[in-house]
């Protein structure tokens, strides 16, 4: 399968603080990878390096230029980055996923409008396109930000803690939607909450400064040791769930 990017012995740091150490990681087309790890374990740093916001201190990050350049990465940041009281409409937020990439003068073309309408329809936001965020529920807001991430038809979608602002009733819908999207793009989702790693992911990686990749979606004792402390996993909801092995 064709790769989208590869990391070779990659390290990243903030000053003297090493956030990622000797990471070897590869993401292929149509992957659906969950990255779990404790807070401060380097999850967001990993995304920042992929997005080009942080230069690696050592090692390489190689993109497959045929499939992926900077413009072909969609990004769903943590909820906290946008002000929900800002006077900007749902439609404009979704459009910003296209516009912000156009350089300093971003004029909206007819095809941009068509793309926005398609995304609004696909994510069930019809009738809300002229609303502002403070008129929406948490789940609807998340769909707006997802729309902003996918309007550019990315080959890779990065999700930062998507479980943070979803109510459980919406969570299943959201993961169903991701499963659909996974048909046309690879997805990399980071979370400190193992409960949000759903059965839809195909493989996962544990991260705590170093990264361990697991080609299946079964979480083992060794993976949990990445947390560096004994933890117990608790989750609610309907079956099926990913069943975790016992650990001492």
């Amino acid at each position: 399968m064709a790769y989208l990017f590869e990391m070779h012995s990659l390290s990243a740091s903030y000053g003297a603080n090493v956030a990622l150490h000797d990471v070897n990681f590869r993401v292929n087309e149509n992957d659906f990878i969950g990255v779990i790890g404790p807070n401060g374990g380097g999850k967001t740093t990993l995304l920042r390096v992929i997005l080009g916001l942080l230069k690696p201190a050592a090692g390489d990050l190689v993109f497959n230029k045929d499939l992926l350049d900077g413009n072909k990465i969609g990004y769903l940041p943590q909820m906290s980055t946008g002000d929900i009281n800002y006077p900007v409409t749902v439609r404009d937020i979704i459009l910003s996923g296209l516009m912000i990439r156009k350089g300093i003068i971003s004029r909206m073309s007819a095809s941009d409008k068509i793309k926005a309408n398609k995304v609004i329809e696909e994510l069930g936001l019809v009738g809300m396109s002229k609303s502002t965020l403070n008129e929406l529920s948490g789940g609807q807001m998340q769909r707006v930000f997802l729309g902003r991430a996918i309007i550019g038809d990315p080959k890779l979608l990065l999700l930062d803690e998507p479980g943070n602002f979803v109510d459980t009733t919406f969570e299943n819908d959201f993961y169903e939607k991701l499963k659909d999207l996974n048909g046309r793009m690879a997805i990399l989702m980071v979370s400190h909450d193992v409960g949000t790693i759903s059965s839809h992911i195909k493989s996962f990686a544990c991260i705590n400064r170093s990264l361990h990749y697991h080609p299946s979606n079964e979480i083992t004792n060794e993976d949990l040791l990445a947390y560096g402390c004994p933890i117990q996993l608790v989750t609610h909801g309907d079956v099926p769930h990913t069943v975790l092995k016992y650990h001492k």
């Binding site: 997005l51 080009g52 916001l53 900077g70 413009n71 990004y75 940041p77 980055t81 946008g82 002000d83 800002y86 006077p87 900007v88 409409t89 404009d92 937020i93 459009l95 910003s96 516009m99 912000i100 990439r101 350089g103 300093i104 003068i105 971003s106 004029r107 909206m108 002229k130 502002t132 902003r148």
Partner: protein, 284 residues
């Protein structure tokens, strides 16, 4: 004859002043209010008073000194909070008072006469020169072009800087240019409304506008309109009552805001009552 020409010029000056003040304050104010930069803008305003004092002391145009101080303090707050890790609101508070202190010290050190402090603190249309009106008019054109051409880029960066940074390398450039233009807008409006009151010229009109709409560019249009009505009315009242123009404008704007908000709420209550009486009738 001479009096009528004087009055005519005075009215033209006031009218142009009101138009340009409401355009610049509407555009800059919508950005400031949306991005929750009201306190920062207050800091810029007061810090620029330091430039006014130094301008007097050196015998150069005080507005020029104020512009330099305004822009430096805006960038200084960014520097202190991001690079020196000082809390942003503390940094603003320090520069706010420091600018005022410098202004007062230099005005009192200026030999000869003591300039009219009151006109800078509370605004006075009498001291507004033709050059001030031309400067404010030029600023209106610059802001209309800037926000018109870069509307979406400015909007998206200001809404979600973190996201914008992932795709655009121009985020900081736009932030600094916009903040500098806002500092200049504030400084140029000081002649009209005064150091103490100018911040309200930026914040009240967008808040009136937001009673009608939540769409950014419509907020700008309503703000300019509300700003013009408030400024022009305040100007006329101040002229006939002989009270400082800045205070009159702000007072008028707040009255408009309260009246509009009250009317909207009253309409809400009445329509609710109508609906419920309707309900009772339909039940019968």
């Amino acid at each position: 004859m001479e009096t009528s020409i004087f009055q005519y010029g005075f009215i033209i000056k006031g009218l142009l002043g009101a138009i340009f003040a409401s355009i610049t304050a509407g555009l800059a104010g919508t950005y400031v209010v949306s991005k929750r930069m009201v306190f920062l803008s207050g800091g810029i305003t007061h810090a620029s008073f330091g430039g006014i004092g130094i301008g007097y002391f050196l015998g150069i145009n005080p507005v020029f000194g104020a512009a330099v101080f305004g822009i430096l303090s805006a960038l200084g707050v960014e520097y202190l909070s991001v690079k020196q890790k000082i809390r942003e609101d503390s940094a603003i508070g320090i520069l706010w008072a420091f600018g005022m202190a410098i202004g007062i010290i230099f005005i009192y050190l200026t030999p000869g006469y003591t300039p009219n402090l009151m006109s800078y603190l509370f605004g006075s249309i009498l001291t507004v020169s033709n050059a001030d009106i031309i400067a404010l008019g030029t600023m209106s054109v610059i802001l209309i072009l800037y926000f018109g051409i870069f509307y979406r880029t400015i909007l998206y960066i200001s809404f979600d800087e973190v996201f914008a940074r992932t795709y655009s390398s121009y985020v900081d450039v736009f932030k600094y240019i916009t903040t500098s233009l806002i500092a200049l807008t504030i400084v140029l409006n000081i002649r009209m409304a005064g150091v103490v009151l100018v911040i309200s010229l930026l914040t009240i009109p967008p808040n009136i506008a937001m009673l009608f709409t939540r769409v950014y560019f419509k907020i700008v249009i309503w703000s300019v309109l509300a700003g013009f009505i408030g400024t022009a009315t305040g100007y006329v009242i101040s002229y006939y009552a002989g009270i400082p123009v800045g205070a009159t404008i702000i007072f008028t704007l707040v009255i408009i805001w309260v009246a509009v908000k009250g009317t909207i709420q009253l309409i809400g209550v009445i329509s609710k009552m109508n609906n419920s009486s309707h309900f009772r009738h339909s039940k019968l």
